[in-house]
Amino acid sequence: MSDIAAPTLHSKRWRRHCDHAAVIVIILALWSLATWRFGTYWVSSPWAVAIRFVEMIASGELLRHAGYTLTEAAAGTLIGGVPAVLLPLLLRRHPVMVAILDPFMVGGYGAPKLAFAPLFIVWFGIGMESKIALVVSVVFFIVYFATLGGVRALDAKLVQTAQIMGASEQQVARSIVLPGAVPAIFAGFRIAVPYGIAAAVIAELISANRGLGYLVQNGAMNFDTTGVFAAVLMATLLVHAAVWLMNALEARLLRWRPPLDPMMETGP
């Protein structure tokens, strides 16, 4: 069986890499067209950006700034994500509490968090703390609602089966509710993490002396579109790395799930 399946899978993957390369070529062509039409002053050329990117990597400048942004995004994702997962689990048996909180959670979810960035900077200063606060505010609500949905969608019969076998409330939460909600929790983080990275970059744009957002802002102030593009490229790569990491983690944690419809297949 593996004799047949392996080359098929391999050729599929190869085919997808070719498709990706084709899309990149199209993007670069359109980009070059824009550079040619508007001039390098307004739209830096792909080649110049590539050279600058390599230079900034070599000097360590890009990685240093990316490191700041990544630290802010990671800290914010943890500080916002962990309570967002725990809260629906703890409130499972307290629907009244969930109902009381609901309008405020909806408000927090819907509020334009990026508009709070200046406020966070006033409160927490121009250091990392204000950026982390913004990432927390973005990640928390997305993950909260995703987890809540997962907890509510849980098959009540599984809980009942565990109770009949003598599982305590705490054991039900840990052994049934949490693993049952993992797919929904992942769906939440999948949306929240790229938003979180973007939030960190935007907070840096507004006021910071380091980070990828600072590089973007600095480049724009000096009319250096090449620098802006290089920093944005780095931010995009960060998002890709984070998504790749989540896919790997998800594939490991959700081995028990039946294979998804190939049409829906995403990630590596």
């Binding site: 098959d155 599984l158 109770q163 009949i164 003598g166 599982a167 052994s175 049934i176 799930r257």
Partner: protein, 263 residues
């Protein structure tokens, strides 16, 4: 000698929704008892409240009237919040759906009850492995439920209740959703396992042949509101060969009597 489990004048009606006529009695004045080590089968047409009856015994639902007595002590409650599902691990329940935990392998599903009860040790783990071998699941210990066939899932669901050895096991048409051949195999497996321990079993089914093949005694439920319409001892000696149960002396006569009572 007191019965292990006694059901006394049990009644059940579901809560009436506002603005509707009072809901009818699903079960009314239903009484029977089960002795230690007895394999009791209950036959009834669909909609005769068989699952409701087992849910009340397993304490996942409340009774509206009457009592359930465990070793002579009433254990019934009318308050849904005071229910004790599985009544302190003394009542095992094999439901119609296998309800396996999809994120646990076969072995981990079988060990689940031992884990939550804090009784997982070398001895109980060995017992779990013995049961896995006894029902032909050896080699599939590390498969996830979605990778197993319907019959394998049923076997896993069965032995994960047997492994923690509750004094009473309730079974709610556990083999209803599998094909006829697999069902015969599962029935044979069940009888073989039961012969090893002679647990008290209450097995609910709508299949008269199954009720005869498995039970020491068969109760027939009436249509709603259901109560016991008839009781038949099953004269077929054990061990029984499930695959040619139809040919055994006593089968045809018992079948006819039960069929007449079911209608």
């Amino acid at each position: 000698m007191t019965a292990l489990l006694e059901i006394r004048q049990l009644g059940k009606r579901f809560a009436t929704r506002a603005g509707r006529a009072p809901s009818p009695w699903v079960i009314q004045d239903l009484s029977f008892s089960v002795a230690e080590g007895e394999f009791l089968t209950i036959v009834g047409p669909s909609g005769s409240g068989k699952s409701t009856l087992l849910n009340i015994i397993a304490q996942t639902d409340t009774a509206t009237a009457g009592d359930v007595l465990f070793r002579g002590t009433p254990v019934t409650t009318r308050d849904p919040r005071a229910l004790k599902p599985g009544l302190e691990r003394r009542i095992g329940y094999v439901t119609q759906d296998d309800n396996l935990l999809p994120w646990r392998s076969t072995l981990d599903n079988v060990l689940f009850a031992l884990e939550v009860q804090g009784t997982l040790d070398q001895a109980s783990r060995a017992r779990a492995m013995t049961l896995i071998h006894a029902v032909g699941l050896a080699g599939f210990e590390h498969y996830y439920p979605h990778e197993l066939s319907g019959g394998m899932r049923k076997r896993t669901a069965l032995i994960r209740t047997l492994v923690y050895d509750p004094p009473i096991i309730l079974m709610d048409e556990p083999f209803a959703a599998v094909d006829a051949q697999t069902r015969t195999q599962l029935q044979a497996d069940l009888l073989r396992l039961w012969d090893l321990g002679r647990k008290t079993v209450i097995f609910v089914t709508h299949d008269i042949a199954e009720a005869i093949a498995l039970g020491d005694r068969a109760l027939v439920l009436s249509k709603q509101p259901s109560c016991i319409a008839a009781e038949h001892m099953i004269p077929i000696p054990r061990p029984r060969n499930v695959s040619d149960i139809f040919a055994l002396p006593g089968f045809a006569a018992t079948y006819e009597k039960i069929r007449a009572a079911v209608q």
